[in-house]
């Protein structure tokens, strides 16, 4: 990014945080924000923020009167609504028993900052920018032994052109509790920087679906940090389809024996979209399992990135870590990058990874053609099957249709464009 603009942005954060004491979490976060990541930083090499530099962006001052929400909600779900990065109690549901939603005070916010700073997200721009100027850190707590029956939906909307929004969330599932959470990012802003810390206590279980469907000009730099205790279970699925640039970065720390993690994702990219799924899984103790399936479909001049790191510490024996990524390119101008990384220091582990980037399989296309199915329909059938398979594995049966339709919408616009492109050849 150009120097002046990043300085502008950081200066505006400084101006804002100067009103707080040196020891305030906002000041600390802001002081840590030295610069935007550049292409020389290994994890940002494939996802460059250059296009942001052409925009003049300022952190938003949330407008609490805005109440136009356009996201249609699922039937019977409990809603948590954010607009302009700020929690809106007036537009959210009452919490069911066993679930608390609260605003963190200064000292708790400082603890939050310290927890994030212990992770490898400490220098992520969303960590420092969002902690500097978020309206408030919201904490969602599920109390011990509470199994929340209804789906929870967190809806992120709002924002303005040339402004950035900063929703910050802390999710804690106490012992033996469970929650099914669907997050939908529908910002209409230049830059969204959601930050999230998740802590799963012993035997807690979180199912999480994130659907990134921001406005077509939005940059979304989502940063997520998850700590998994003994026998806890995080089953996470992301669908990235919106924005001009969406990067969802997740760092998951398996630090209780027997913890299980699924970290699956799909990106569907067209036009000049850039979509990035970056993950790091840290097996810090023995007997944990992590599984990851990532699939991408790319058309137009889009680019996709999957970076997946699995680090197995010396004492993390009997780790089972699997990772598979596959991207299908539908146009000559689309490109996909996959960067799997395994760092294994233990000797008794099962770890496997595979990454492929390619076109649709000729044999499969011909087989469908030979049964009378035209080429465009054959491509559509194969791509849908490619995505449906992982959706079925990753999300609750009752949500298959909802998630698949969300994917289908993005897909059909890409396929229509590729169809007309192919027909002109």
């Amino acid at each position: 990014m150009q120097h002046s603009i990043k300085d502008d942005y950081i200066n505006s954060l400084k101006n804002y945080t100067n009103q707080f004491k040196d020891t305030n979490f906002r000041r600390i976060a802001c002081n840590d924000f030295k610069s935007w990541p550049g292409p020389r930083e290994e994890t940002w090499r494939l996802s460059r923020l250059g296009s942001l530099s052409r925009k003049k962006i300022k952190p938003i001052n949330p407008n609490f009167k805005k109440n136009n929400t356009n996201t249609s909600k699922l039937n019977g779900s409990t809603i948590i609504q954010f607009i302009d990065g700020a929690f809106r109690e007036d537009l959210s549901s009452d919490m069911p028993s066993g679930v608390n939603l609260s605003i963190l005070g200064d000292s708790e916010s400082l603890e939050y900052l310290q927890k994030i700073k212990k992770s490898n997200l400490s220098n992520h721009p969303s960590t420092n920018a969002s902690l500097s100027c978020t309206p408030s850190i919201m904490k969602l707590t599920v109390t011990k032994d509470t199994k929340v029956k209804d789906f929870f939906e967190i809806i992120y909307e709002g924002g303005e052109n040339s402004q950035s929004v900063h929703p910050v969330l802390y999710i804690e599932l106490k012992e033996n509790s469970s929650l099914y959470l669907i997050e939908r990012f529908n910002h209409l802003t230049s830059l969204a920087m959601p930050l999230q810390l998740t802590e799963l206590r012993n035997k807690a279980s979180l199912n999480s679906i994130k659907i990134f469907n921001d406005y077509k000009e939005t940059h979304n730099l989502s940063a997520n940090c998850a700590y998994l205790s003994e026998k806890s279970n995080l089953n996470s699925f992301s669908l990235i389809k919106g924005g001009i640039f969406t990067r969802s970065e997740t760092h998951a720390y398996l630090n209780g024996c027997g913890a299980k993690l699924n970290l699956n994702g799909i990106y569907i990219s067209g036009n000049k979209q850039h979509h990035d799924l970056t993950t790091a899984i840290y097996h810090d103790v023995s007997d944990c399992t992590s599984k990851q399936i990532v699939r991408g479909v790319l058309g137009g001049k889009s680019t996709g990135v999957f970076q997946g790191k699995v680090k197995v510490a010396k004492h993390a024996q009997r780790t089972d870590g699997q990772q598979m990524s596959r991207a299908i390119l539908l146009s000559d101008s689309a490109s996909a990058n996959a960067k799997p990384e395994l760092e294994i220091y233990a000797d008794d582990v099962i770890c496997a990874h595979g990454a492929t980037v390619g076109e649709l399989d000729d044999d499969q296309l011909f087989y469908l053609n030979s049964r009378g199915v035209p080429m465009n329909k054959a491509r559509e059938i194969l791509i849908k099957a490619f995505l449906e398979d992982i959706i079925n594995q990753s999300v609750d049966k009752s949500l298959h249709n909802f998630v698949f339709k969300e994917a289908e919408l993005a897909l059909s616009s890409i396929l229509t464009k590729e169809k007309s492109y192919n027909e002109t050849l």
């Binding site: 000729d362 044999d363 499969q364 011909f366 087989y367 469908l368 053609n369 030979s370 049964r371 009378g372 199915v373 035209p374 080429m375 329909k377 054959a378 059938i381 194969l382 849908k384 099957a385 490619f386 449906e388 398979d389």
Partner: protein, 250 residues
């Protein structure tokens, strides 16, 4: 008029001549067998007929019921009534058997100007035909050919043939990988579809299949040309003397 007419078909793959002037006329109600040693061009012939990319004719012509196939893509040929049963049926992970069959059948029905079958009507029809081919319901719920045994894959091919009711079916080494029992089921399935309106071309290495699907004509393909044609007795001659005797004599 022949139902399938291959006229002087020439085809090159990677600059190598594979078909060097194949001519064949297949009439309604007939079953033709094309036999030949490895590398004689049998599978190339079947891909060429089905219209696979890269298997375009250098010279010659193919007519299906009097209409030239040369300008047609594979899907159009299939809708026009040409069917290829694959030697190695392709796995389609994530594509359910029933919806695949329905897509295929409705493509053909659309072409014929018939109304698409609704889901229930189709399922009924598919199950009826499937039971004849000993294809269980459970198999139709699975992804196409995924985890199917060799016999199941071939039965599923013939089930497709039964549902699509093509004018001309090309069976490419349908006997490969089948045990005797499976061979009988598949052959019975094929025989059940023989009628006076369609035609079948069986491509095979071995005479064995022709004990079950009895051809009207047998052709020997060698080096991309048909070197000899005759009745079913020709297949027996191959079985007795091998291909080399015939090729040397030609």
């Amino acid at each position: 008029m022949s139902l399938l007419e291959i006229k002087n078909a020439h085809l090159k793959l990677d600059d190598k001549n594979i078909l060097n002037g194949v001519s064949l006329s297949v009439n309604k109600g007939e079953v033709h067998a094309i036999m030949g040693p490895n590398g004689s061009g049998k599978s190339t012939l079947s891909y060429m007929l089905a219209g696979r990319d890269g298997y375009e004719l250098e010279e010659g012509e193919i007519l299906l019921d009097g209409i030239s196939l040369s300008e047609m893509e594979a899907d159009e040929r299939a809708r026009s009534g040409l069917f290829l049963a694959f030697q190695y049926p392709v796995e389609l992970p994530g594509v359910g058997g029933m919806s695949f069959l329905r897509e295929a059948v409705n493509s053909r029905r659309n072409f014929l100007g018939k109304k698409e079958l609704d889901h229930l009507a189709f399922v009924k029809e598919a199950r009826k035909e499937a039971s004849k081919m000993f294809v269980k319901d459970e198999m139709l719920k699975r992804a196409v050919n995924v985890g199917f045994s060799g016999g199941e894959k071939k039965r599923f091919e013939i089930l497709q043939m039964a549902l699509l009711k093509p004018k001309v079916s090309i069976l490419d080494e349908t006997d490969s990988g089948l045990d005797v029992d499976a061979l009988k089921i598949v052959s019975d399935g094929v025989n059940a579809q023989r009628n006076n309106e369609n035609a079948i071309v069986v491509i095979t290495h071995y005479q064995r299949l022709l004990d079950y699907i009895i051809p009207d004509f047998v052709h020997i393909l060698s080096d991309g040309v048909i070197i000899k044609s005759g009745g079913p007795e020709l297949a027996l001659e191959v079985e007795k003397n091998g291909y080399s005797g015939l090729i040397n004599a030609a």
